[in-house]
Symmetry: C7
Subunit: 102 residues, 7 copies
């Protein structure tokens, strides 16, 4: 059920396009978000990396995530976009908290 084939949005700069993973899928993935947490991170799949950014020296800064990674992001932040009937999120890479390793 990958969504990465028909997507047509290239994020700008250090932004990343991610797709939220439904809760029933998250349970199977082994990650549980506790009910009492004030800020609940959300599980998502990285769909597309941005055009990248540069450091003060002008050197390109690489991404720490890659397309297909399962990541945890803050519930707040980012901008929703709908492509071909599915909802995605544009977030800055720094708003990604961690990668869920298989």
């Amino acid at each position: 059920m990958s969504a990465s084939t028909s997507v047509k949005v290239k994020p700008l700069g250090d932004r990343v396009l991610i797709k939220h993973i439904e809760e029933e899928e998250q349970v199977r993935g082994g990650i549980y978000i506790p009910d009492s947490a004030k800020e609940k991170p959300q599980e998502a799949e990285v769909i597309a990396l941005g055009t990248g950014s540069k450091d003060a020296e002008g050197n390109a800064i690489g991404f720490n995530v890659k397309v297909g990674d399962r990541v945890l992001t803050s519930k707040y932040g980012g901008t929703e976009v709908k492509v071909d009937g599915q909802t995605y999120l544009l977030v800055r890479e720094d708003d990604i908290l961690g990668i869920i390793e298989a």
Copy 2:
């Protein structure tokens, strides 16, 4: 229905002149903005790039978008200008979220 021929505004610095695309056109382009989203990005066409900016070393920073690109921008931010009866927006490039690829 390109608007790029008669435009006479050269954006300054890292600003970009864009033209908002009407919703009926957006539907045909395949991008749907969900109704429930708090911050809805808007589809727009890049009409003119700015004079550019420089990094701390004094080297020119190029633009990641080019004239004619279809982009997603935040609904808020930027300044409206009307040229020859049509409304444009002056935005900083960092306020462009992503490029819609054909």
Copy 3:
């Protein structure tokens, strides 16, 4: 009706002295400011450039505008000064949104 001959104010740093262009003149120039816009940019003529600023390396940063340019600026910001009975505005160059090309 140029005002640039008798002006006696040299802006400091990255500031620019501009003169607001009356609305009847703006119409002839082909730029219309839409009524509904929350922030309306204003058309102005560049009268004098500042003494300039320097980057972190100590190199002079040039201006992107030149004396005589017609520019769009935000309605807010800058400081009014009156010289020889005419009103001018001292603004930072970064507050100039774009240049209106002839």
Copy 4:
């Protein structure tokens, strides 16, 4: 009672995955948090280091903590995640106040 074997979250950037240590364990470890303190630090174990960050020169910045360290962190800040039924915290390394030495 180490939790580091089955964890599957790789923190991003300068973030660190830590596990809060229960109060009965803290007492045995010799660290007492005073009741009257307005901001109580919490004892935790470092479970996983992030992918790292870089300085302005592009050189990798190492971590001052290592997996297995007992650390003191502020009670506020960080994001809770639950993995395999246990609760962890994703915090930036700068939010770790000190290392408890054995």
Copy 5:
């Protein structure tokens, strides 16, 4: 009526000591401050330059104004000092808007 001979305050860093010019004198100088302006700049004479500041490379940053210059400053900001019965102002050079050229 120059006040620059007996002054005994050396401004620190990028500060400049200026003396406000009375309104009757300003009129003769040809600069009128419009009544309706929300922020009225004030005409002043530069009495003493500061000890100077340095850029990130450690090189001295020169002043754009010199002793004796007539300048426009914001009405707000700076600190009043009274020396030998006359009132002066200590302002940062960046708070000087422009130099009035003779």
Copy 6:
């Protein structure tokens, strides 16, 4: 009555572990804090230095205080920790105002 032997907390980064000195001891040390002062600094002893921080070039930044120094710190700021029944404070070195010389 030195507390530095049994302490087991290594501060992280530019933090310093200090121990507040009781008022009766401060009087003997010759430093009096005036009653009327809004912000009263507190006398403390430096117990342990942090792991250190680095400048933009990646060079280690040394500490200006050393273990055993008597210092003045702001009453506010820092985090209390209790080790072996005694209360300590974790503060950033920049929050130390001065060293009391013997």
Copy 7:
């Protein structure tokens, strides 16, 4: 009536230890603070310089004031300390407005 002999506080970083000069002494020094000023600077004597700070390149930044200088400082800011029955102030050098030259 110099206070510089018995002082035992070494300011940290870019801080300076100063001693406020009583108003009767200020009058003799020729500096009058106007009554109407909203922010009144205060005359003080520099008693001790800090341990110094460094620029981004790691080079030591010197002080612009020296021990014994009469300076003007803002009335607000700094921290009072009492040593041997006299009240001093710890201020950052940037909060010193100017040096009163003899």
